[in-house]
Amino acid sequence: MGDEKLLDIKNLTIKTGSGRVLVNHISLDMEKGELLGVEGESGSGKTLTAKTIINLLPENLSWEAERFQVLGVDYLKADPKAIKSLVGGRIGYVPQNTGFYLHPMIKIKDQIADGYVLYSKSSIEEALARASKLVGAVGIKDTERLLNSYPWQLSGGMRQRVNIAMALMNKPRLIIADEPTTALDSTIQKQVVDLFRAVNEAHQTSVLMISHDLGLIKYYCQRILVMYGGQIIEEASAGDLFAMPKHPYTKLLIKVIPSLNIKRGERLEEIPGHVLEIGKPRSGCVFKERCSYRQDICATEVKEQSLDGFHTFRCNFDI
């Protein structure tokens, strides 16, 4: 049993049908009530990891792991039905705002509440009342009008807020939010993050938040994972990570960004070297091509280091 642990994943690997490795032996766990941040290069495998947890990996990909337990349900053994009701009933998912996650031909009120009706065994009226409250909580004023709209009548930010409200409908025990605030302006961003925190404090809900926004993650999360090239290259408490980043990539990430409030894509030009091509058979350190501390040894092997058992990083040196 997973007892205290909410998430207990060991050596998760995600591959394409042709064997390209997209996520390479990552391990992560989460305690009840924890706020975990995931930061990393674009294409480093953050979204795929999140999608594996909600059992929605694209059909052409497959995963394997030594251990994979979510809220005490063992994905390696449980039947698909159990996983489905776990995901629907106890995990709230806010998708990355790159696609169109609301059905364009169905009114918001007819799609925001159906999961709640199913899992909370409530009437549609109760469900809509809850939806209205949550939509209000993410800063939408005319909730009645919003619920009666079709998704294409809303702006990108509005749709994202609907997704956030929808993820909170079932009072989930775990929220997985994939860049939940990218399309929102800064006041709404703060409102959303504060809402997550309020939910976290009131119900011990855990939040796994993926974001490019280091400032946001620093302000908000207790622990942070940094991903690069399909691996977790550093893991530490938020305080430690910003006070003494150990991995050269993390150092660059923190040093290069003066305001700690970067927009997507800006960062790429500033870190030297080219973006790693994920999936090629390779050995040694994933960051070696772009690392200024590189030595010959980095081509063949990489050390897993731990400072105090909690702050770990994958690098041959301690700089």
């Binding site: 998912y93 059905h103 899992y119």
Partner: protein, 318 residues
């Protein structure tokens, strides 16, 4: 919306005019006319000439066309010399037969295509998918008359499940009516399924790959809700168009099936009119079918527009 309707209708009028002129010209040009039809092939030239001038057939073709057109716009399709009756009366008598098998076969084809198309998409590359692909190919490659004759031999003569010929109007018993149109409708349906099934499968696969399906799954909804509420809703637009077009095509396309099953419908009437050179009957039939096809296509387009909430909302906003 009004603007759109106006455009469609004026376009339809152009099409009808063009079709009528071409049909009229072709019928004038081929040998044989109504006088010959009435008097028979051994009539003397004098008698023929006299009848022609009495019927006005000796006038230039454009004057005759003009007369016909005047009648047409006041819903008078003229007279069939072969039957000695108004063309519109003849059509009215035979329309129920043709409509019955067209509607019934469309229902059969639609139900089978939607069910199999959805299953084939959900269970892609499994037995269901292969069976429906096979059915698709069978329907579009084997001619209707062959399937018709085979079904007469096996389902009609051997197993005696269905009558093999003739039409029973619904007034004379609904079950007998359904029985009399069952076999021809099924035969016709097989030809329709191919295209429709393919469309349902393709648009269902497309819907299943949309992001909003991920969300529906992440909410842990039942398979029924996921497929019917979310996927099918956006997957039905393309098939609706196909259903409309195929239905329009069917009304004119029942000639073969009506002959094979000896049904007194519009299709058979067309055959008779062609064989006997009954000019006004044929012209009337061609115009009737063309009008029907255009009208059905227009209705389907409007219906499909209303399925799409985007257009509905925009129209309310106007």
């Amino acid at each position: 919306m009004l603007n759109y309707l106006y455009k469609r209708i004026s376009h339809a009028v152009e099409v009808l005019l063009l079709v009528s002129i071409i049909t009229f010209a072709v019928l004038m040009w081929i040998p044989g006319d109504a006088a010959q039809l009435i008097l028979g092939s051994d009539a003397t030239p004098e008698k023929l000439a006299a009848l022609r001038s009495a019927l006005g057939l000796d006038r230039p073709w454009y004057l005759q066309y003009w007369d016909w057109l005047k009648g047409f716009v006041s819903f008078d399709l003229g007279k069939s010399y072969l039957f000695g009756q108004d063309v519109s009366t003849l059509i009215r008598q035979r329309l129920p037969v043709t409509m019955s098998i067209a509607v019934f076969s469309m229902i059969i084809a639609t139900v089978i295509s939607i069910v199999l198309g959805i299953l084939a998409a959900i269970r892609k590359n499994t037995a269901v998918d292969y069976v429906s692909t096979g059915l698709m190919q069978l329907g579009s490659s084997v001619p209707a008359f062959w399937i018709g004759m085979m079904s007469i031999v096996y389902l009609g003569l051997e197993l005696q499940w269905f009558p093999i010929a003739g039409y029973v109007p619904p007034e004379r018993g609904f079950v007998a009516y359904l029985n009399s149109i069952a076999l021809p409708s099924m035969v016709l349906a097989i030809g329709e399924i191919g295209m429709l099934l393919r469309t349902v499968r393709t648009s269902m696969l497309d819907a299943l790959s949309q992001d909003f399906m991920d969300m529906a799954r992440a909410k842990g909804l039942s398979s029924f809700t996921i497929y019917f509420k979310y996927a099918l809703r956006s997957a039905m637009i393309a098939p609706s168009n196909v259903i409309g077009l195929q239905f329009a095509k069917l009304v004119g396309g029942t000639v073969v099936v009506e002959s094979v099953f000896s049904l007194p419908g519009i299709g058979r009437l067309i055959l008779v009119a062609v064989e006997q050179r009954d000019v006004f009957l044929l012209l009337g039939l061609v115009m009737f079918i063309t009008t029907l096809v255009i009208a059905i296509a227009l209705l389907v387009d409007i219906a499909v527009m209303f399925i799409n909430p985007r257009i509905r909302v925009e129209m309310q906003g106007e």
